[in-house]
Chain length 448, copies 2
Amino acid sequence: MIEYRNLRVGLLGAGSVGSQVAKLLLEHGEELAARVGASLELAGIAVRDPNAKRDVDLPAHLFTTDAESLILGSDIVVELMGGIEPARTLVLQALNSGADVITANKALLATHGPELFDAAEQVGAQLYYEAAVGGAIPIIRPLRDSLAGDRVNRILGIVNGTTNFILDRMDTHSDTLEDALASATELGFAEADPTADIGGFDAAQKAAILASLAFHTIVPIESVYREGITAVTKEQVDAARSAGYVIKLLAICERLTDQKTGEEGVSARVYPALISRSHPLAAVHGANNAVFVQADAAGDLMFYGAGAGGIETASAVLGDLVSAARRHVVGGPGVAESTHAKLPVLDIGQAITRYQITLEVVDQPGVLATIARILSEGGVSVEAVQQSVVSELIAASGPVVHSDSAPTATLVIGTHEAAEADLAATVEALAASDVVSSVASVLRVEGS
Amino acid sequence: MIEYRNLRVGLLGAGSVGSQVAKLLLEHGEELAARVGASLELAGIAVRDPNAKRDVDLPAHLFTTDAESLILGSDIVVELMGGIEPARTLVLQALNSGADVITANKALLATHGPELFDAAEQVGAQLYYEAAVGGAIPIIRPLRDSLAGDRVNRILGIVNGTTNFILDRMDTHSDTLEDALASATELGFAEADPTADIGGFDAAQKAAILASLAFHTIVPIESVYREGITAVTKEQVDAARSAGYVIKLLAICERLTDQKTGEEGVSARVYPALISRSHPLAAVHGANNAVFVQADAAGDLMFYGAGAGGIETASAVLGDLVSAARRHVVGGPGVAESTHAKLPVLDIGQAITRYQITLEVVDQPGVLATIARILSEGGVSVEAVQQSVVSELIAASGPVVHSDSAPTATLVIGTHEAAEADLAATVEALAASDVVSSVASVLRVEGS
């Protein structure tokens, strides 16, 4: 019988992730001790209501409402409460007491990350957060360690399972957004209030975390441009499918050149975008997540798996727990979060992307020439124009009756890459033109 | 100007990976120093012939033929010579001198891993080998750290780029093996002597490394069952495509129950197998690699990217170099390779898999009954039997002239899961049966 050093683990929160972490710790304690070289004792679980119903049966004596005492008696604190307060205060208390902290709290990291990392650095404690992005998918450690000698240029991430489930359902079942959301709710892939997911807020928090880490720069959540999926229509998804694309909600982090200063900057943004069906991200179905990373030397990498779920996320938390415990066993301070690069964070107008613009136009001679002139004046170069969409739609869904007397046609314009600001201004100019009845759809194209 | 502590890096070998590592170290030294908190000085490059032609121009004064002196003057040694000797002796010298060692040498790790890890543990040095499996793809670190609190049950890996290129080419171009190999050689995806790749030796070394790490158990290379792709035919690839499968060379590592003792054991094996086109591994094209991991809590994960190439592999080496350097900066011993589980390694006969068996049979009444009896007696349960293959082949490629007088038919039998030993014995019994003219193809089916 080997005698191990004992490490006390304080757990804050016993929701779907927290209760699984407690269960795994209790069940696999011996195996974990052998891997770590120290035994991991679950010292207690701080909760608001010890008698609340949990996903998992846990010994009643572990529960406490006194989080502060639990923290002071712990070597490692695992924060799985979510939300900003009291999580922020408790994590700071834990770090200030010298405990290592593990958190899956993306909202907290995206809004108070620098404060927490500073607190950790002050006392030589370590803050682990593998579970905050991509659930069980190892993405924080690969970015921080495996690619530490490389230069990451771009990240395209499907980092929200709910919206991927909905968009995948719209693609594979030709559902409306409302129907797909109803299915997601029914199957447990969407919360009762799905705003954080479908509004892109969750993905934006993750984009801030990924961009900060990948570019060694503080990227505040306020500087992440965000569009959710609420404006995505069945018609857009169907048209994307016909054109060989699929619509995904992407978290995009990339290095860019500031067009005003010529200096390097970074961009972090979240929006639904078209990607080619041949892109590896197009094959990410259901509520799965995947993060596609492009680096100078490593080339293209992709990390794929379940992006959420109590037990899956618990796996990532336990991986961090083993890392923290090993650090306690071997001694020595942790690796400080490096934000040495301090690159400016550029606004969405400076992002370089492609557009797919669908216009309803007056069907008369000279229209195409007018549109081509507007695009050219806007500095937007055209890659392809497709005029056959109307007839395709007619074939697919029966005759279309136009209510206005003038005959109209539908134009789908694919642009080359241009600055977002130029593209947006050009779309405005198109909308204002006499020959354009309406701008039916504007979607960005990513992943080229 | 920040003054950093200086760490001396000794490089052994200047081949396609080594020269890229040297180049990246020289070009990005300042950025790396900021990330590490120490400057990484390339102390020298030990080579056999300092005047040999290299992929990259490097300063002549760095080259030396005196590897031993270079090692003694280095804090971190990077071994990129390949092969067993003198690599093994030099790595042991480096570890014994207290230097951390980074290696991409899969042959060395698969054959002498335990000796090297023991040597490292003796002196508290660390051995890093992210680049040994999957080129730039972070797979070692995720298995060792991210999944350290989970329980890995199975790994299915496409870990050899050459064979994946060849099989993908056979699938997408309907090439013969010979033609696909010729293309691979022409495009630089196969070596002049492709034996290590197409014979499955390279994949078997990687399977031994992955299985040892995932199951905390020493898995010697001799215990890895190995079949290469040399027996894979165009006909098999075409038939797989029609049936919704693709053939991939898989490195499979899994936990199994020993059927004799009832105890837990592990299996490591490499062979070409059918996987469903809907499996994420089916979408891994060209010379790319991917490792699919199934864990208790994390569920299914996949890691994808370029599996080889000088600069891609150099990215993984530099990630290790940054980890090693951070460890020097913060102090403390490394994490010893844990082989505490000491599970028995089971032979291929105990593997549980499915078979797809293609038989040429005499076309007469009662044949199917005879075959069904043989399968049943062998303990093999049938999932599906397809008899339409002959007519399909005729339709696809013109009339088939049978040389023997008796009419024959082709039967494709898909089995349920069974022990490999039972399946193999049953195939032998089928081959010996009067009603079977020949066993045209036997392929394992994986990824269910």
